[in-house]
């Protein structure tokens, strides 16, 4: 593996919780090129030939294995779009950790657009963790626009955990999912924006088979003058259940637009949406202050708990 510098190592720690080379399969990408790769007997990673990106192929029956594919950008002005396709066989149980960290100390915008497609085989269980992190004090913006497409076969389960807590100036996230019978999608999104950041998150989940279910929950905090838009649509095309929830805290002059929507095209589709936006309740601050915290400490505890 090529040597990574300290900034890149720090970014890797932030987005993948990695302090060292992980066990299992991995592909590290830094400043537009692959700097390390490992495959296993069951997980193969190959570079795409027609465009930038990789194909990850996981054999049928692969259990308790993981794939890490973190991306770091530390060169100001670097802009890239990367296409990664995951082909997960039948009856697998795997963990996939992606994530992108950008450090921009320069004056030019840095941008990484990751397009991830997941083809989840029959009966497989996938846990997918994606973290975004930005740092650096340059005038150049740190931009991430991830697109995630999930195609789920019968009886498969996908748990997605998407986290963006710090430092990304602009995000447009799009997540599309199509579920066959008895497939189950669980999404937990956590987002915090500050300064003048903007973040948009669009979900379009189609429940196409009987017994399919989706639970899409977003918890977010908008501070300073940042703006967020959460747009989640669940489409029930079969006897299915769907739930979407957007729960947000606004602080300072932060703004949030929540647009949950449901489309039922089958009489047996049961769909629910919830959205709540508000500031931190004064009584929550007072309660924690009566336990000995200052107002600022109380605020921090409430936000940390909310985004945990």
């Amino acid at each position: 593996m090529k040597q990574m510098d300290e900034v890149q190592k720090r970014l890797i720690r932030e987005v993948a919780d990695l302090h060292d080379i992980p066990e299992g399969a991995y592909n590290f990408r830094a400043n537009g090129e692959s700097v390390g790769r490992q495959t296993t007997a069951n997980i193969d990673i190959t570079t795409k030939t027609e465009r930038s990106g990789i194909d990850i192929r996981i054999k049928d029956g692969t259990k308790k294995e993981s794939v890490h594919i973190p991306v770091v950008l530390s060169q100001s002005g670097l802009q890239e779009t990367v296409y990664n396709d995951f082909y997960i066989g039948k009856d697998c149980d795997v963990l996939i950790v992606a994530g992108c960290g950008i450090d921009n100390c320069g004056n030019q915008d840095s941008r990484h657009d990751g397009v991830h497609r997941f083809f989840v085989g029959k009966g497989s269980h996938v846990r997918y963790v994606e973290k975004h992190y930005g740092s650096g004090d340059g005038a150049g913006r740190r931009i991430l626009n991830p697109v995630t497409e999930v195609y789920m076969e019968e009886g498969s389960t996908m748990e997605m955990e998407m986290v963006q807590i710090k430092g990304v100036d602009s995000t447009e996230r799009t997540t599309l999912a199509e579920l066959a019978a008895d497939a189950k999608l669980i999404v937990r999104e956590r987002l915090m924006t500050h300064g003048q950041q903007t973040a948009g998150s669009v979900y379009k989940v189609s429940l196409n088979g009987d017994g399919a279910s989706a639970d899409v929950v977003s918890r977010s905090v908008a501070r300073d003058t940042s703006f967020q838009k959460f747009d989640a649509c669940i489409i029930g095309n079969a006897a299915c259940t769907g739930h979407t929830e957007c729960d947000s805290i606004i602080m300072d002059s932060g703004r949030i637009l929540a647009v949950p929507s449901l489309e039922a095209n089958n009489i047996d589709a049961a769909l629910v949406h919830e959205a709540a936006i508000g500031k931190i309740a004064g009584e929550q601050l007072i309660k924690l202050m009566t336990l000995g915290l200052t107002e600022a400490e109380a605020e921090e505890q409430i936000i940390n708990g909310f985004l945990k």
């Binding site: 918890r219 009584e283 202050m289 009566t290 336990l291 909310f306």
Partner: protein, 242 residues
């Protein structure tokens, strides 16, 4: 020792000044179990909030262990050893029972230490420790967790604002047992409870009757309780539910 000297509190209600506490003098000695009772709207809860710093007095002085705390913030008073259990416990999305107990204890509490506080309030610790303090908990459960946070703080003065409010009869009986236990085992701590429940009055060392923002009667339980039985100031649990 807690001393209230000529304390007044006037609330602004839709532009009209409403004097809730008037020129009130009250001294609470150390290591006592004191119950403040009185009619609704008499200023009981306001008084507890003034002591905790949640409301600011309009005139007078509050001294805690001889130190003037009138101008001190909620946080400063908490750090001096004043605890406050809310009448309506606050819910938190995301914060777990363990998180709240750790914040209360002000240190990294081991799970077994946290469990001890929950056991003291009659909750099976393993069922609750990682639960979020949110709307999924019942009024009685929240109330007990609220009391556990005060126990975890190891305060010198613990204030309980109408602990019986908003809970069912079964939970109320358990709650009484918690106070009775606290009464027996908690030496070195002053407990001040706002309540008009006869069973809580029954375990008091001293009873203070507050009406129209003033202390109208105070003394030992033996002295005061017989004068309250049969009035609204000393209700039985069933009266409360009805």
């Amino acid at each position: 020792m807690l001393e209230l000297r000529k304390v007044s509190f006037t609330a602004d209600e839709d532009g009209t000044a409403n004097e809730i506490i008037r020129d009130l003098d009250l001294t609470i000695e150390d290591n006592q179990f004191v119950v403040i009772t009185g009619p609704n709207g008499g200023g009981k809860s306001t008084l507890a909030k003034l002591v905790a710093g949640i409301k600011q007095l309009t005139a007078g002085q509050i001294l805690f262990n001889g130190e003037d705390i009138t101008e001190k913030s909620i946080t400063e008073r908490a750090r001096m050893g004043i605890g406050f259990a809310f009448q309506q416990p606050v819910r938190f999305k995301g914060l777990t029972v363990l998180d709240l107990l750790r914040i209360a204890a002000g240190k990294t509490l081991s799970v077994s230490e946290a469990c001890r506080y929950l056991s003291e309030v009659g909750l099976c610790a393993k069922d609750y420790i990682s639960r979020e303090v949110n709307a999924s908990l019942s009024g009685g459960e929240l109330k007990r967790i609220e009391i556990a946070t005060v126990l975890a703080r190891d305060v010198q003065l613990a204030l309980f604002d109408e602990p019986e409010a908003g809970i069912d009869l079964w939970s109320f009986n358990n709650l009484i047992r918690i106070f009775e236990k606290m009464r027996e085992h908690e030496a070195g701590r002053t407990i001040l409870v706002i309540s008009h429940q006869e069973r809580i009055l029954n375990i008091a060392d001293r009873i203070v009757v507050l009406a129209d923002g003033k202390v109208v009667k105070q003394g030992s339980r033996e002295e005061i309780l017989p004068t309250l039985i049969g009035t609204d100031y000393a209700q039985t649990a069933c009266e409360k539910i009805i």
